[in-house]
Structure formats: C-alpha cells, structure tokens
C-alpha cells in the first residue's frame, strides 16, 4: 500500500509538472509566433547584403522611401526593408501607413521610349480616358543627310490579359514630316509633310511594378504625299509615373 501511495504521489507530481510546462508553453507560444525577425539591408534592393536584424515588435522610425523600399532606423542603426514587410507593430502611425500605401500606387501618367526597326527613336506619353488611354507618340529617324519624323495622337486599349502579360492596341492620326533627302514619306526625297494613320499592337511584359517592356508591331499609312505605307517592329520601355 505504501509503495502504491508513493507511486501515486510521484505520478501526480509529474503530471502537475507537465501541466505547468504545457500551460506555460501555450501562453508563450502566440507571443513567440508574433515576434518575427526583420532583415534590414544596406541598400534599397534584395541583392544588397543584410546588415542587421531586429525583432518585428521593435519600434522603428521611417526615414526615407525609395521605390518600394523604406529606410528605417531603430535609433542606433539604419537599414532598408521592403514596405510590404514592415509589420503592424513597428511603430508607424496610421497616416504614415496610408502615405506609404498611396505612394506605392502607380500614377495615371505613363511615359515611354524605345527604338524601332526603321532605326528610329520613339517617345510617347499617355493618360487614362474612360476605358482607353489617350496617347501621344513621336518618332524620329536621323541619319544625317536624311531625316524624317512623325507625331501621332490616338487611343490605346487593353485587349486581353494572360497572367502578367497583356495585349494592347493603338489607333491614331498624325503628321509625318520628311526632311530633304529622306525617302521615307516621299520617294523623291523632297521636303514634305503628310497626314497619316497608324495602328499598332503591343505585347506587354511587366519588368517591375511601374515598368514594362513592350514588343510593338506597327503600321503607318500616309494619307498624302506618295501615300506610302511603313511597317516596323519596336522595343519600348513604358514607365508609370
């Protein structure tokens, strides 16, 4: 009976210890789970080295925003962290969070530049207009003794999307200018200008949140001069401001 009683006491003590440990673990577990480590980097990019790490509950002071990266200070050291990784408990005010969210949103204006297979430079700007974008484009080729240019105003529209890729179209009217010696808009190389109609299709590949690369197939038809038609393939970088 005595042995059984001691065994019972020992068991209950062990059970009580287990219960204490389990209860302690259950209480502490959520706070451990919330405390993640943040890795702050030397520069605003994921390839820059990590220079120090802090707990996600540490109070951090936001100093500067560059792209999608935020320079933070814990009072002693400074490092960069993606805005998306800044935790709720880092000490940023609601106004600061709103500002960061708003700053990361791409703006309405888009600018673009590139070159095409007719050895011409292309520049453009666009702004949303209902479901379309109003776009202005300028193309110029200059080989010294023979230069030509064109300027167009038209509408862009997204036709279809596939994952991150999209297909866009453009139709516009404009003006083609032929400088002396160029045979682009005039076969005889005269200095002239002509109205023109242009259509193009873009295959859009996003490089960054605000930047995409476009492969453009383009056809222009002169409505005056010698009514020549031109087709070209262009590579265009498009940036949302």
């Amino acid at each position: 009976m005595l042995v059984q009683g001691n065994l019972w006491c020992l068991l209950t003590r062990r059970v009580r210890q287990m219960l204490y440990i389990t209860t302690f673990c259950l209480i502490c577990a959520p706070s451990w789970a919330q405390q993640e480590q943040l890795y702050l980097r030397k520069g605003p990019g994921s390839a820059f080295p990590v220079i120090f790490e802090v707990s996600s509950t540490e109070q951090l002071q936001p100093l500067r925003l560059q792209g999608e990266w935020l320079l933070l200070s814990n009072g002693r050291r400074q490092g960069w962290l993606p805005v998306a990784q800044v935790p709720e408990s880092s000490g940023l005010s609601r106004a600061q969070r709103w500002y960061l969210k708003d700053a990361l949103r791409p703006g309405n204006w888009q600018v673009q530049g590139g070159w095409n297979s007719e050895t011409a430079l292309q520049l453009g700007v666009s702004y949303p207009l209902d479901e379309y974008r109003l776009a202005a484009r300028f193309t110029r080729a200059n080989a010294g003794e023979q230069a030509w240019q064109s300027a167009e105003l038209g509408l862009e529209q997204v036709f279809s999307r596939y994952a991150a890729w999209s297909l866009q179209g453009f139709a516009g009217l404009g003006l083609g200018i032929n400088e002396q010696g160029s045979r682009h808009w005039d076969e005889n190389g005269r200095e002239t200008s002509t109205a023109l109609f242009t259509v193009s299709g873009d295959v859009v590949w996003p490089l960054e949140k605000r930047l995409d690369l476009r492969l453009r197939l383009q056809a222009s038809q002169a409505l005056g001069a010698d009514q020549s038609a031109h087709t070209a393939v262009a590579l265009i970088w498009n940036l949302s401001l």
Binding site: K42, L65, A95
Partner: protein, 201 residues
C-alpha cells in the same frame, strides 16, 4: 435661505460658461504631420567628365550631365546631355573641299534605360560601408556635330557608389553616331570612360 437662492440662480451661468469653453473643434488635415514626415527619393542627378577616344581623331574631354529616374529595384530610366569638342584641325578631301571644319563641337542629347545587375556593399575601414551597384545602360539619342546631326547609340557599364546624400560613379561607354557625314570620314565611333558625381531628388 437667500444665499441658497442666489447660488441656485448663479449655477446656470456657470454651466453656460463651461459649455462654451468645451466646444473647441480641431481642424483635421489629411496627410502626414511634420513629425511623421517620410522623405521620398525619385531619382538622381549628376555631373561628370569623360575622356573620349575616337577612331581617326585625337582624344578629348567631355562634360556630362545625367539624370536617373528610379523605375524599380534594379531598373532606372536615364537622360544624358554631353558637351565635347570634336576635332581640332579641318579635314579636306582630295579636291580641297572642307569635309570637317576646325574646332567643331559634338553635343549629345540621349535617353535610355539602365539595369543594375550587381549590388553589394564596399568598405575601406571596416567600420563604415557604402552600397554600390554595377549597371548596364543603353542610350539612344542624337549627336549634333557642327552643322549636321545623326542618331546616337551607346552601351555603357557603370559602377556606382551610393552614399546617403551623394553618389559617385565611374563609367565606360562605347558609342556610335549614324551621321552620314561623319560615317564617310570614319569618325563616327568611339569609346569613353569617365567619372560622375551627384545627388538625389
């Protein structure tokens, strides 16, 4: 009794006075307060000098002005203005016709894109380090040489040391102008290396 009545008469006056003191609406303004301000960096600007070495012409020093707009983590858009002397003595053809006048100037207006393919941190003392990146840059624009002009194309590699408020860069670039006048004289290609310094906006 009369003091009690006087006190009771005075109570509403006190209450009214308090309510007018309490009503002090505070005007709320959307946005960050001064103490919450987060500065934002959009891009960088800089000036620099470059040494140009060109086929069939003596080397010369160019002055550069550059602007970069950060388009993302690694990509940026680039604008550049370059001012440089082109040649010293005139060039004539066999019949004595002047093909290139003496002291012509070659000025370039170009834009393009850059991609930082290497990023890291550099330190001399071991105590302070600076982030750096190596970028490849493509440039297109026009080169205005004397009275003629032509399409300018350039490909550059740039090593940039990024300070908190200032940056320093070295660059190596190969370039070509499609100006037919220069092409005929075979003076339309070359390379340059230089150093630039600037700040951010």
């Amino acid at each position: 009794m009369k003091y009690l009545i006087l006190c009771l008469l005075a109570v509403p006056l006190l209450v009214n006075a308090e309510t007018t003191d309490i009503y002090q609406p505070r005007i709320k303004v959307a946005g960050l307060e001064k103490s919450e301000n987060i500065s934002r960096r959009y891009g960088s600007w800089g000036v620099g000098v470059a040494q140009q070495a060109q086929d069939n012409l003596s080397s010369r020093t160019a002055l550069n002005f550059t602007g970069r707009w950060f388009a993302g983590e690694r990509w940026y858009l680039l604008g550049s203005v370059q001012l440089a002397p082109f040649n010293q003595s005139e060039i004539r053809n066999s019949s004595g016709q002047v093909l290139l006048e003496s002291g012509e100037q070659a000025n370039v207006l170009a834009g393009g894109a850059g991609y930082a393919f290497l990023q890291g941190a550099a330190s001399l003392s071991g105590r302070t380090s600076y982030p750096w990146q190596v970028a490849v840059e493509g440039l297109m624009g026009e080169q205005y040489t004397g009275d003629s002009s032509g399409r300018y194309t350039g490909l550059a590699f740039s090593w940039q040391l990024l300070g908190d408020d200032y940056w320093l860069a070295t660059e190596w670039r190969v370039y070509q102008s499609d100006d037919s006048r220069l092409d005929k004289l075979n003076v339309n290609k070359g390379m340059q290396w230089g150093i630039s310094f600037g700040s951010y906006f």
